[in-house]
Amino acid sequence: MTEKAASSLTRICLSSTAADPALHRIEIMPIGLLKYGLRRAYPAKPDLPPAQELKSSYDVVIIGGGGHGLATAYHLANDWGITNVCVLDKGYIGGGNTGRNTSVIRSNYITPESVRFYKASVNMFDGLSQELDYNVMYSKRGQLTLAHTDATIRTFRLRAEVGKFHGTGIEMVDRKAIREIVPCLHMPLDARWPVMAGLWHPEAGTARHDAVVWGYAARAADRGVEIHQRTEVTGILQENGTAIGVETTAGSIHAGAVVQAVAGMSSVVAKMAGFRLPIRTYPLQAMVTQPLKSFIDPLVSSSALHCYISQTARGEIVIGGGSDPYELYSTRSTLDLKESLIAHTLELFPFLADVRLVRQWAGMTDMTPDYSPIMGESPVKNYWLDAGWGTWGFKATPATGKFMAQAIAIGRVPDIIAPFRLARFDTMALVNEMGATAASH
């Protein structure tokens, strides 16, 4: 419709409503919006540039267009001026685990190396919406982890001490404090697993995982990074033990450096490069209820009961729990997990019994023997790994992007991610975080 036609339409509507002034005011608003939308002065700006042809070579090729791959691309361009970068995804960006997690952001781990790293990431989330000029709906509201046994209390004490040492808020709380933090928590003393104490981590929060993907993608694209969706990598080109490019469903490309950030598919892609990883792929399921009036602010987690919950800005209760019992490359969800997850959640929040479950889904998680990630070099030169993120990858998105970009740009792994090198398995220098990954085991 032209502007002239829109003006004519306005006049007709105005004349027909001239009799009743109140009706006149109600009619004006939609016509005004229509005129605004049609004016050429306000063109719609797509978040991502339209799909382009794959070039024949790039300085850096990133396999995997999830949060980690896109954050790495953004930081390569933003921090190091390396813009001749392409991100390849066999599906749509953020369609993998970044789109399937329960969006928990925290740093209350048990090893000093992990707390140091995750704390850096949590700090980056603080300013992320500003940095990306994209609302990631970051909501800092604290996480309460529950201890139901003496053994757990012992590990909580260690986590509190490590947190204190590294300047991140992690503290032990007793039943009285727990009652104040989460008044609606059901905590009878005669339960099978009574709530004995808790670990309070005020810096924890959530963010909208899809928005994190889109924000990084948009700003990376702004800086010249190319994002190619529905482009699957089918092979890694090598020469003398060095990666020189990739084969894709849209043709072959040469690369100065190749990065794989493909989560559950880590072993499948690494196999193309000719090596194995200490990774096993397990589904991790999650589910969400209908929206409810806001009644719980902090995140609540229980490892003994293998469940953790949070309430979204829309009022839905997101429920996550333990991994599936056997390896599978699938995102299917099961009745078994629905039953066990609900049973445990109702132990803590029995009043949710009649609430409707709206959706259940799963991600494919790349689990490592020590529940810590694998970042840095691989057995192939110029081939970088960002893998083994299992059930703990979303919170690490900003820091991984920043430090992987640094590693690729200067050719050396920064100290903060060095503990997570693949070579740690050579010397048994595992970073054991099984306890602090909460419910996922």
């Binding site: 598919m265 880590s266 072993s267 499948v268 194995r276 990883l277 200490p278 990774i279 096993r280 792929t281 019992p325 056997y326 390896e327 599978l328 490359y329 699938s330 299917r332 099961t334 009745l335 078994d336 023997p369 398995f425 050579d426």
Partner: protein, 102 residues
């Protein structure tokens, strides 16, 4: 519920079983490099496709082998481990390593 056919007990709910990972050949620890031992301890094929795994029926502690498709979630075949492991293994004590400090 998903059903798995135990070679000993017949069709049972899959939650009566525990998967114990890929069937691998344990190398002779006395006769290999650290790298080979590391690979055996930590690395997995983690195949997307048909895999051969050790499974245990927990109520009866019966161990067996299952061939399973990790993409379609289909259990292809389950069979007693004697099909694969049917030769006696002699556990010979290796010569104690010479103490370099002695």
């Amino acid at each position: 519920m998903k059903v798995m056919r135990c070679p000993l007990n017949g069709d049972r709910n899959i939650n009566e079983f525990q998967c114990a990972g890929e069937v691998t050949v344990m190398p002779d620890a006395a006769d290999i490099s650290d790298d080979v031992w590391r690979d055996y301890l930590w690395l997995s094929a983690n195949e997307a496709g048909v895999v051969r795994e050790w499974w245990c029926h927990l109520p009866t502690s019966y161990w067996f082998i299952a061939e399973r498709n990790t993409v379609t979630d289909e259990i292809v075949r389950t069979y007693p481990s004697e099909e694969v492991f049917n030769k006696r293994v002699e556990f010979v004590q290796p010569e104690p390593a010479k103490d370099p400090a002695a």
